[in-house]
């Protein structure tokens, strides 16, 4: 292993994993169950440039059984070492990923990611998209988990519309910014402006 075991690599994990991951999961669950709602999710302190929210999601959900794809500037030595040490997740190309982390521009074309099979739609990738801003404004969302309508900053509404058209197949998405997270499952319809 080329990565030196630095304090940056070894630190930044959960202090109390069972409780912190439980709280983080509830935030992630509510985000995925109510698209458009923005939740605070924290606990991990990953090396730059990964956000607290994306790092906490990885510590909560990824382990040795879930290949992770790092895209763009997330794919740096510091983060490779940190994710490997804390989750033991194998780092893989986009096509093999269960979780993929990066900015939207680095994750495109999104068609590369697993969308599940007709018999097992759950065998699909979950994208963790690092956003410059994350607010409850922008394209209108409807669908399961949304009472009337919601709004959310999306990097590329057309890509998520195409993903929804594949339902019940398709990837699912967490949008992260700082210590905040929002969910965008494949079931969500992205309406026109």
């Amino acid at each position: 292993m080329a990565n030196p075991l630095t304090a940056e690599t070894l630190g930044g994990g959960f202090d109390d994993a069972p409780v912190q991951s439980a709280r983080a999961f509830r935030a992630a669950l509510d985000a995925m169950a109510r698209p458009g709602r923005i939740h605070v999710i924290a606990g991990a302190r990953p090396p730059a440039p990964l956000s607290v929210a994306a790092g906490t999601l990885l510590l909560t959900l990824a382990d040795g059984t879930t290949p992770v794809h790092l895209a763009g500037d997330i794919d740096c030595d510091a983060l490779r070492g940190w994710i490997t040490f804390h989750t033991a997740a194998p780092l893989v190309p986009a096509e093999a990923a269960v979780f993929a982390v990066g900015r939207w521009a680095d994750l495109t074309p999104a068609r590369r990611f697993a969308i599940g099979t007709p018999e097992y739609p759950d065998r699909a990738a979950t994208l963790i998209v690092e956003m410059p801003v994350l607010q409850a404004e922008g394209p209108v969302l409807t669908g399961p988990g949304i009472r009337d309508r919601a709004r959310l900053t999306l990097p590329d509404p057309e890509a998520f519309r195409a993903n929804h058209a594949l339902f019940p197949l398709g990837f699912d998405t967490f949008l992260t910014c700082g210590n905040r997270v929002a969910g965008l499952p494949r079931s969500t319809r992205v309406e026109d402006f």
């Binding site: 509830r26 909560t60 990824a62 399961p144 339902f167 019940p168």
Partner: protein, 291 residues
């Protein structure tokens, strides 16, 4: 062995991550059965091992847990699961529906309307609605993938041909968001309308069958029926004999050797709340009076 010898909420972290990933995929594809590596739990299959694992994966120390079995808080299954999580997670428990943040249920939806701040976890014996029509899992998987649900309508039609009405009274199949036919667990069909548009997140866990599925809040859930035989949520044609409620689901209880019977709310918390508020049924005694 002390209680502190267990991890928070009993399960180890690796197992909880696996269950959490399955729950998230279930939420993303409402009504679709997601396989998970169900663990042995310190209780027999049929006692809610699926629901217990989903609850364990969702609990936080801030949660207040309610467990009901056929609507009742005080039956063996409910009492033992509640005490299991009080000991292994150290969380608060309650019998009041409105005070609970997470409710694990066996075969009822509480009468008190649920809110956005609650999660309802169902214990599911047979998650596959098509299982009694087609025993082979690869075939039912294919039927779901092709939306081939004609067989289910044939079953309901045969009910009508034989009995003059759809005789299925619990475990009544539903269609979720116009896509997946789903087994709502053996809740009475009286509860089926509460599945649709519910503000709470609903999670379903089947331990022996190793499946998790979910209904996100405000999901459209339609009970299967025919134009000329529309779905009717049924209940016993009585009022509760203890609290007088005319709109709650009732249990019939034989009370002597002569076959006399009484009807009581299956939801014990709902019935207790009404009696405390001064409602008295046919055989009830006013609140405060000696039992």
């Amino acid at each position: 062995m002390t209680e502190q010898a267990y991890n928070f909420a009993y399960l180890d972290e690796q197992t909880k991550r696996m269950i959490r990933r399955a729950i998230l995929k279930g939420v993303a594809v409402p009504g679709c059965q997601v396989p998970f590596a169900s663990r042995e739990m310190p209780m027999p299959y049929g006692w809610g091992t699926g629901g217990v694992q989903v609850t364990a994966a969702c609990l936080t120390p801030e949660d207040r847990l309610k467990v009901i079995d056929q609507g009742a808080d005080d039956t063996t299954n409910a009492v033992s699961i509640r005490s299991f999580f009080r000991r292994t997670a150290g969380i608060a428990v309650t019998e009041a529906t409105a005070e609970a943040t997470l409710i694990q249920t066996r075969h009822r939806i509480p009468e008190h309307p649920l809110t956005e701040d609650q999660i309802l976890v169902y214990q599911v014996p047979i998650p596959e609605p098509l299982r009694f029509l087609e025993p082979r899992e690869p075939e039912t998987r294919k039927m779901h993938s092709l939306e081939e649900y004609g067989l289910m309508h044939v079953k309901l039609y045969e009910d009508i041909a034989r009995h003059g009405a759809i005789a299925t009274s619990y475990d009544y199949p539903v269609k979720v968001e116009g896509r997946y036919v789903m087994d709502p667990s053996p809740i009475p069909k009286f509860d089926n309308p509460k599945l649709s548009g519910c503000p709470a997140l609903q999670l379903f866990g089947a331990g022996r069958e190793q499946r998790i599925y979910a209904l996100p809040p405000y999901t459209s859930v339609v009970s299967l029926d025919f134009d000329d035989h529309p779905f009717e949520p049924g209940k016993a044609d009585h009022d509760c004999d203890l609290c007088g409620a005319g709109d709650s689901y009732l249990d019939e209880v034989i009370i002597d050797d002569a076959g006399s019977r009484m009807f009581v709310c299956s939801d014990t918390d709902f019935c207790r709340g009404r009696r405390a508020a001064g409602h008295v049924g046919r055989l009830g005694t006013p609140a405060g009076a000696a039992a």
